[in-house]
C-alpha cells in the first residue's frame, strides 16, 4: 500500500474535516434582527393623510365594468401618512413560488402584490379601480378599449412606464414560450395599439364587457419591457422589476423573498421599510412561527388550532370573505350522475352546516350560488336541505336503491381541513348507500383526475377549489358544455343547452341592466340542476401580531401594501 499520509494523520483528518465544514458553514453571518428605531423620511414630512393618496373608486358599487370612463384620482401624488419605520413586515404561508413573473407563477403570490402594479386593481366589492391606468373607455362597436395611463411612473430600474410596457406585458403572456398558465383568457386580445406613451388601445375579438376585469387579473401585472429584454424571461421571474411599492431585494430559494420600500412610488407608500415573504410548508410549524413572533402575519392556519391561538393576547385572528369555493365536481356524462335526482340526492345527503361548524371550525360559509359569492352578478338561492331520507328516496326513484360506488379524488394538504371534509362526505354518503373510496394524491395526480374524460369515468368525483374574479369567468368555464372550448376548464360533462344559450347571450351584453337578469336566470337553471356537491365558500383566515395594523386582504386574495404599520 502506497499511501503518502500515515494512517494516523488520515484518521485525524477524517475526524477534523466535518468539523471544519461545519464551522465554515455556520460562520456565514449572524441572525438578522429587525430594529424598531423609527426613521423619518422626506416623504413622511408632508403630513397628508393616507386617504388623500388612495385612489377613489370610480364606480358606484354594483355597476358593471363597462361604465368606467373617468379620471377621478389624484394623479401622481405620492403621499405617506407618517414616517417609514425601519422594520420588516413578514408574511408567512405554505407555498414556495416557482417564479415571480406575474403570468407564470402557480401559487398565489404575496410578493407579486408588493412589487408590481396592474392597470386596474380590485376593490373590496370586486369592482375595479384605477391603478396604472387612470381611465378607460370602450368604443361604440365594443371592439376596442382605450386605457389612459398614469404619468410620471417609473419602474424600479429607473425606466419610465409607458404604453410600450403594456404592449410588452400582453405580448409576453401570449408568447407560447412564456408558458403562462392563463394565456387562454388573453387570446381574445388581437392587437395592442400604442398611439402615444400614455395611451394603450386593446382590440378584442370576440368583444367582451369584462375586459377591465381581465386587466385586473394577477397575470396582467405590468412588467418592465426593458428589464425583460435585458434579463430574459427565466431570470426576470427570479429578479422581477415592477412599479410597485416595494423593490425586489433578494430571493433565497425556499427561505425567503424580500423587497425594500420604493422611495419613488407613485401611490400610497407603505410605512414599513422591508417586505419579506417566507414559505413554511408545514401547517404545525406555521402555528409555531406565529406564536413565537417570527412573522407578522401567518396564513394557512389549521382551523383546529384557531381556538387555542385566539386565547393568546398578543395575537389577532382574523377572517375575511374570500372568493374561493369548495365543491365536489361530479362527472356526469353517464349514469349515475347524469340523473338530476342523483345529484340532488348527493347534496341532500350531506349536512354541510355540520361540516362548516365541526370540521372547518366555523371558518367557512354556506354556499348558496353556483357563482362565487360576493361577485357582481352572483345570485343566491336556497340550498337543498339536509335530508337523508329524501336523498334515499330520490336515489331509489333514479334506480339506485342499492346505492353505487364512487371514488373521491383530491389533493391532501392544499388547505387546512381538507382530509376531514372528504372523510365527512364519505360518511354522509355511506348513510344513503353511496360507497365512496377516497383517493388522496399529490397535485399532479389530482389534476390528471380532474381533467379525465367524464364519458369514460362516470363514477369519479373530484374536489377542486375554484377562485373566479368575475361572474362570467366562473359560469362559463364551469357550466358551459363545450369542453373542447379553449376557455372552458369544464370536465364534469355538465350539459344544459339552455344554460349554454344564456351564457352566450350574457357575455355579449354590454348593458349591465340587461345582463343582470340573464345572470339570474342562468344561475337559477344551474342551481336547479345541482351539477356539483356545493360544500362551502372559504374565508381568508390569518393570524397576526397585535402590533400590526392596516392590513387588508381583498376577497380576490390580493393584499394592499399601502397602509401597513407596525407599532
Amino acid at each position: 500500500m502506497s499511501l503518502l499520509l500515515t494512517r494516523r494523520s488520515v484518521l485525524r483528518a477524517s475526524l477534523a474535516l466535518p468539523a471544519v465544514g461545519l464551522l465554515a458553514a455556520c460562520g456565514g453571518g449572524s441572525d438578522k434582527t429587525s430594529t424598531t428605531a423609527a426613521e423619518s423620511t422626506g416623504a413622511g414630512a408632508s403630513g397628508t393623510t393616507a386617504a388623500e393618496g388612495t385612489p377613489t373608486p370610480i364606480q358606484s358599487s354594483g355597476s358593471a365594468p363597462t361604465a368606467a370612463s373617468s379620471a377621478a384620482t389624484p394623479e401622481g401624488s405620492p403621499t405617506a401618512s407618517g414616517p417609514v419605520a425601519d422594520v420588516d413586515f413578514t408574511i408567512v404561508d405554505g407555498p414556495e413560488p416557482n417564479s415571480l413573473d406575474p403570468c407564470v407563477g402557480t401559487a398565489y403570490q404575496y410578493a407579486v402584490n408588493a412589487i408590481f402594479n396592474r392597470l386596474v386593481i380590485w376593490n373590496e366589492k370586486m369592482n375595479v379601480e384605477p391603478s396604472l391606468a387612470t381611465s378607460w373607455t370602450v368604443s361604440d362597436d365594443h371592439k376596442s378599449w382605450t386605457f389612459k395611463l398614469r404619468e410620471n411612473v417609473k419602474f424600479h430600474d429607473g425606466s419610465p412606464f409607458t404604453s410600450a410596457d403594456v404592449k410588452a406585458t400582453i405580448d409576453h403572456i401570449l408568447d407560447p414560450n412564456t408558458k403562462s398558465n392563463r394565456r387562454a383568457n388573453f387570446t381574445l386580445i388581437k392587437e395592442v395599439q400604442t398611439p402615444d406613451d400614455l395611451t394603450a388601445i386593446f382590440v378584442t375579438d370576440p368583444v367582451t364587457p369584462d375586459f377591465p376585469f381581465l386587466m385586473a387579473d394577477g397575470s396582467a401585472n405590468i412588467i418592465c419591457s426593458a428589464a425583460l429584454q435585458k434579463m430574459g424571461p427565466a431570470d426576470y421571474g427570479r429578479k422581477p422589476v415592477g412599479t410597485g411599492p416595494f423593490k425586489f431585494e433578494e430571493w433565497v430559494p425556499n427561505d425567503h423573498i424580500s423587497a425594500t420600500i420604493n422611495e419613488d412610488y407613485w401611490g400610497t407608500k407603505p410605512l414599513v421599510k422591508r417586505f419579506v415573504y417566507k414559505p413554511v410548508p408545514d401547517p404545525a410549524t406555521r402555528v409555531i412561527v406565529l406564536k413565537s413572533n417570527q412573522a407578522d402575519l401567518v396564513f394557512g392556519l389549521p382551523p383546529a388550532d384557531v381556538p387555542d391561538l385566539q386565547k393568546e393576547s398578543k395575537l389577532k385572528i382574523v377572517d375575511s370573505p374570500s372568493l374561493t369555493v369548495t365543491q365536489m365536481q361530479l362527472k356526469q356524462a353517464k349514469p349515475p350522475f347524469s340523473d338530476k335526482r342523483v345529484r340532488q340526492a348527493v347534496n341532500m345527503a350531506v349536512d354541510k352546516d355540520a361540516i362548516i361548524k365541526n370540521v372547518m371550525g366555523g371558518f367557512a360559509r354556506p354556499l348558496k350560488t353556483p357563482d362565487c359569492p360576493g361577485l357582481w352578478g352572483a345570485f343566491e338561492f336556497d340550498p337543498l336541505p339536509y335530508d337523508p331520507e329524501k336523498a334515499k328516496q330520490l336515489l331509489s326513484e333514479a334506480g339506485f336503491a342499492g346505492g353505487f360506488d364512487v371514488t373521491i379524488s383530491y389533493t391532501s394538504g392544499r388547505w387546512p381541513g381538507d382530509d376531514q371534509v372528504v372523510q365527512a362526505v364519505q360518511g354522509y354518503w355511506g348513510q344513503v348507500g353511496i360507497k365512496a373510496t377516497i383517493k388522496k394524491g399529490d397535485q399532479a395526480t389530482f389534476i390528471a383526475d380532474l381533467t379525465k374524460d367524464p364519458a369514460t369515468n362516470p363514477n369519479l368525483v373530484v374536489m377542486p377549489q375554484r377562485t373566479s374574479y368575475y361572474t362570467d369567468y366562473q359560469l362559463y368555464r364551469l357550466y358551459q358544455s363545450d369542453a373542447a372550448n379553449a376557455e372552458a376548464a369544464q370536465r364534469s360533462g355538465y350539459n344544459n343547452p339552455e344554460v349554454d344559450k344564456l351564457l352566450a347571450e350574457e357575455r355579449m351584453e354590454f348593458d349591465p341592466e340587461k345582463r343582470l337578469p340573464i345572470f339570474e336566470q342562468v344561475q337559477k337553471l344551474i342551481w336547479d340542476d345541482q351539477p356539483f356537491l356545493y360544500l362551502f365558500s372559504m374565508v381568508n383566515l390569518y393570524g397576526m401580531q397585535n402590533n400590526v395594523s392596516g392590513f387588508t386582504i381583498l376577497p380576490s386574495g390580493d393584499w394592499i401594501p399601502g397602509p401597513i404599520t407596525k407599532g
Binding site: 500500500m1 502506497s2 499511501l3 494512517r7 484518521l11 466535518p18 465544514g21 461545519l22 458553514a25 455556520c26 456565514g28 453571518g29 449572524s30 441572525d31 414556495e96 416557482n98 417564479s99 407564470v104 407560447p176 408558458k179 403562462s180 398558465n181 392563463r182 394565456r183 387562454a184 427565466a234 421571474g237 427570479r238 433565497v252 430559494p253 425556499n254 427561505d255 425567503h256 417566507k278 413554511v280 410548508p281 408545514d282 404545525a284 410549524t285 409555531i288 412561527v289 406564536k291 413565537s292 417570527q294 397535485q443 399532479a444 395526480t445 389530482f446 389534476i447 390528471a448 383526475d449 380532474l450 377542486p464 375554484r466 368555464r477 369542453a483 372550448n485 379553449a486 376557455e487 376548464a489
Partner: protein, 306 residues
C-alpha cells in the same frame, strides 16, 4: 490503489444509467405531468396542451429519454419545467443548506454516538449503559417531525432561545441538526457498543492489559481502533439516511435545501430537476461509500486494495 479507485469510479456509470432509467420510468408511471401542474386547477385544456408541446412532453417516451441522457452525458440536465432555469443551477443553489445540515447532523452523530457507545460498552450493565440503551431507543423511534415540533415548542415558543425556522446562521442550524442527527447518534452508539464489547473479549486486549497498560490506553489505542470498522460502515450508510431524513427535517423547519426541493419537484413532475437531483445525490452516496471502503485500509493495515 489508484487503479482500484478508477475502477470504482468507472463502475458509477452503469449504476447512474440504471438510476436514470428507473427514475424516468417512475416519473412516467405516476399520473399527471408538468404541464398540468403549471396550469393548475384554474386553467384550460388548451393551456395544458400548449405548455405540454413547449416542454416537449408530447414526444414519444424513448425520444424524451434519449434527449435527456444524451444531454446529461455532457453535464446538461435541461431546464426546470417550473422555473425555466437550468436544473443544475436550481440544484446547486440549494446544496449549501443541505450540506450544512447533513454535516452538522453527522458530526453530532459521530461525536455523541461514539462517546456514548464507548461509555456503555466499558461500563456494561451499569446505570449508564441502560440509560444509553433507553435514550437510543427513543432516538431511533421518534420521527423527525415529532422531535422537531417538540423542540420548536420548547426552544422557540416557551423559552424563546432559538428561531424556529429558516437557515443561514448557527442558531438556525442547532435544532434541525439535533432532530435529524438523533436517530443516527443512536444507531452509531449501538454499533460502537456491540463492536467494542466484542473486541474487549479478544486475546490481544488481555495481553495489553497484562503488560500493565493503563485501562484507558487499552481502550483508546487497542480496542476502539479495532471496533471502528463496523462503525465506519454504519456511518457511511447513515449518510444516505441523513440525505433522506433531510426531506422531513427541511419541511418541518422550513429550511431551504435539496430535500424539500426534491419533494416539490416530484410533486410538480419536474423531471429534469428530479433526474439531476437524484443522480447527483447517488454520486454523493457512492463516493462516500468508496471513501468508507478506503478508510478500512487505513484502519486495518491487513486490508489492501489492488
Amino acid at each position: 490503489m489508484t487503479v482500484y479507485i478508477i475502477k470504482r469510479l468507472l463502475a458509477l456509470i452503469p449504476v447512474l444509467i440504471g438510476v436514470s432509467i428507473i427514475i424516468f420510468g417512475i416519473m412516467q408511471l405516476i399520473p399527471g405531468d408538468a404541464a398540468e401542474v403549471l396550469v393548475g386547477t384554474n386553467g384550460s385544456a388548451a393551456d395544458v396542451e400548449r405548455i405540454r408541446e413547449s416542454l416537449g412532453l408530447d414526444k414519444p417516451i424513448y425520444e424524451q429519454y434519449w434527449l435527456f441522457i444524451s444531454r446529461a452525458a455532457v453535464g446538461n440536465f435541461g431546464r426546470s419545467t417550473q422555473t425555466g432555469r437550468p436544473a443544475l443551477t436550481e440544484f446547486s443553489s440549494r446544496v449549501k443548506p443541505t450540506a450544512e445540515l447533513a454535516a452538522a447532523a453527522l458530526l453530532l452523530a459521530i461525536v455523541f454516538g461514539m462517546i456514548t457507545g464507548i461509555v456503555s460498552a466499558v461500563l456494561q450493565y451499569s446505570v449508564w449503559d441502560y440509560l444509553v440503551t433507553v435514550v437510543s431507543l427513543i432516538g431511533v423511534s421518534a420521527p423527525v417531525f415529532w422531535t422537531g415540533l417538540m423542540m420548536m415548542l420548547l426552544f422557540s415558543v416557551w423559552l424563546g432561545w432559538l428561531p424556529a425556522t429558516g437557515s443561514g446562521s448557527f442558531s438556525r442550524l442547532i435544532m434541525p441538526a439535533l432532530a435529524l442527527g438523533s436517530a443516527s447518534t443512536a444507531i452509531i452508539a449501538r454499533q460502537m457498543r456491540s463492536g467494542l464489547l466484542e473486541v474487549l473479549r479478544q486475546d490481544y486486549v488481555r495481553t495489553a492489559r497484562a503488560k500493565g497498560l493503563h485501562e484507558w490506553t487499552v481502550i483508546a489505542r487497542h480496542a476502539v481502533r479495532n471496533a471502528l470498522i463496523p462503525t465506519v460502515t454504519v456511518v457511511g450508510l447513515q449518510f444516505g439516511y441523513l440525505l433522506g431524513g433531510s426531506v422531513l427535517t427541511e419541511t418541518v423547519f422550513a429550511r431551504p435545501g435539496v430535500g424539500s426541493f426534491l419533494v416539490n419537484s416530484i410533486q410538480a413532475r419536474d423531471i429534469p430537476v428530479v433526474q439531476a437531483t437524484i443522480m447527483l445525490l447517488a454520486v454523493a452516496f457512492l463516493v462516500v461509500n468508496l471513501l468508507v471502503d478506503l478508510l478500512y485500509a487505513v484502519l486495518d493495515p491487513r486490508i489492501r486494495y489492488s
